[in-house]
């Protein structure tokens, strides 16, 4: 599905819309000037002229090629600058890079997805991809946790998912605010209420390291096998090409061999949750 092009060279994309998801998170809608496609879970390097570039996993559907959505949390120099951009400017895109979610391996199975915070961005892309092949899946369950209701991103997504046959979506927050009538507690508490056939299921985890650690431990406790848990590591990536070594994790470059790994591949690697 990827297109043959110079992987070192960015191409232009026009920023057509900026959607505020939460106080710290915005979604940037980009229209690439060149033909572009990606596999869900792969990432791109997004650049701003004169400022720098950073890696992001698209949050939009891999099936939609005319536009691309990237959800960005304000965490540093480049992302802070990006948050001030207005529609009409041009940005640079390199990629796509890395190994995404092996959607074909999910066929015939129930898919349990655990997401936290901004980790819902790659998951949203995965959900779109799964929706596109829902006839080949048994069930898709999303469990998502954020710190507060205000920090919860893609709010309309949950209503939409719960209307799709075979899809279920649950949310929880660490701390409730006035008017919140869904679950309260960390995301693993949602696992108490999901009904899943463990004999025919895979799990996907994406979120902050602590959430990924506790989420994976709970999934193992539930009975998932090491190779049935997919982790979207997405950390410390810089060049995107396995050259700079910034994202090295044991024998792997996250950007080159991942960012999606099975727990089996990583479990012997030290400090995977740091």
């Amino acid at each position: 599905m990827t297109i043959d092009r110079n992987i070192y060279k960015p191409f232009r994309a026009k920023l057509t819309d900026v959607i505020e998801e939460s106080p710290l998170i915005k979604t940037f809608v980009l229209v690439p000037e060149e033909e572009f496609s990606f596999n869900t879970g792969q990432f791109i390097e997004l650049s701003v002229d004169g400022i720098g570039e950073a890696p992001f996993t698209p949050s939009s559907s891999p099936v939609v090629t005319e536009k691309l959505e990237v959800t960005v949390m304000k965490t540093g120099y480049v992302t802070e600058f990006m948050h001030n951009l207005k529609p009409g400017v041009f940005m640079g895109i390199r990629g796509p890079y890395g190994r995404g979610y092996p959607v074909e391996k999910f066929f015939g199975k129930e898919v349990l997805i655990l997401g936290g915070g901004c980790g819902l961005a790659p998951i949203r892309s995965l959900l779109y991809a799964l929706e596109n092949v829902k006839d080949k899946l048994e069930k898709v369950i999303l469990c998502y946790g954020s710190k507060t209701p205000s920090d919860c991103i893609y709010k309309p997504l949950f209503t939409r998912l719960n209307k799709i046959e075979k899809f279920e979506a649950y949310r929880t927050v660490d701390k409730a605010e006035e008017g919140w009538n869904e679950s309260v507690g960390v995301v693993t508490t949602l696992l108490n209420k999901v009904k899943i056939n463990l004999k025919n299921s895979v799990a996907v985890v994406c979120g902050p390291p602590i959430m990924m650690k506790f989420g994976t431990i709970r999934l193992l406790e539930m009975g998932y096998k090491d190779d049935e848990i997919y982790l979207s590591m997405e950390k410390n990536m810089s060049c995107g090409l396995g050259k700079c070594g910034h994202c090295m994790m044991g024998e792997f470059f996250v950007c080159k061999h991942g960012p999606v790994f099975t727990y089996k591949e990583l479990k012997e690697t030290p400090d995977i949750w740091k």
Binding site: K147, T172, D174, A176, N181, S183, V184, G185, V186, T188, T189, L190, N192, K193, K195, P208, I210, M211, F214, I217, R218
Partner: protein, 151 residues
Amino acid sequence: MSLNKDDLKKIRFFDNYTEEQLSVIAGLSSIRDFQVKEILFEQYDELSELFVLLEGTLSLGISLATEKRIHLGTIEEGQLFSWSAVFAPYISTAWVMAITPAKVIAIDSKKLNLKIEADCDFGFKTMSKIAQTISHRLSDTRFQLMNQMII
């Protein structure tokens, strides 16, 4: 309101019990209804019933010396709570309040403990399930604590 073993079979918490064991639990249980904002029990109350939530959502929390209620999390359908009713000194470590109309299975914990002592297989299954609930609660609390520390 009383219940029978077939009612219990529908609830994941009661998986793995034999028919006979489910009948015993049903004999020790009743169904109780709670209205919105009704307190099921307060922190430091002496407990005599082990609960499993059948329908609705409950809030679990602790109180500070100032009597301000701190909401720690929700209890979802199928979850066990009030495990303190099974272990001495049988004093609740948290309060629980209904945040929607709720239906709860209440199991007489004194009679349950007698059965646990008398029947090793039943006792092992029951204690394993309660231990798992406590383990999850502890793990979730650590997770929550680490989340707070990072902020």
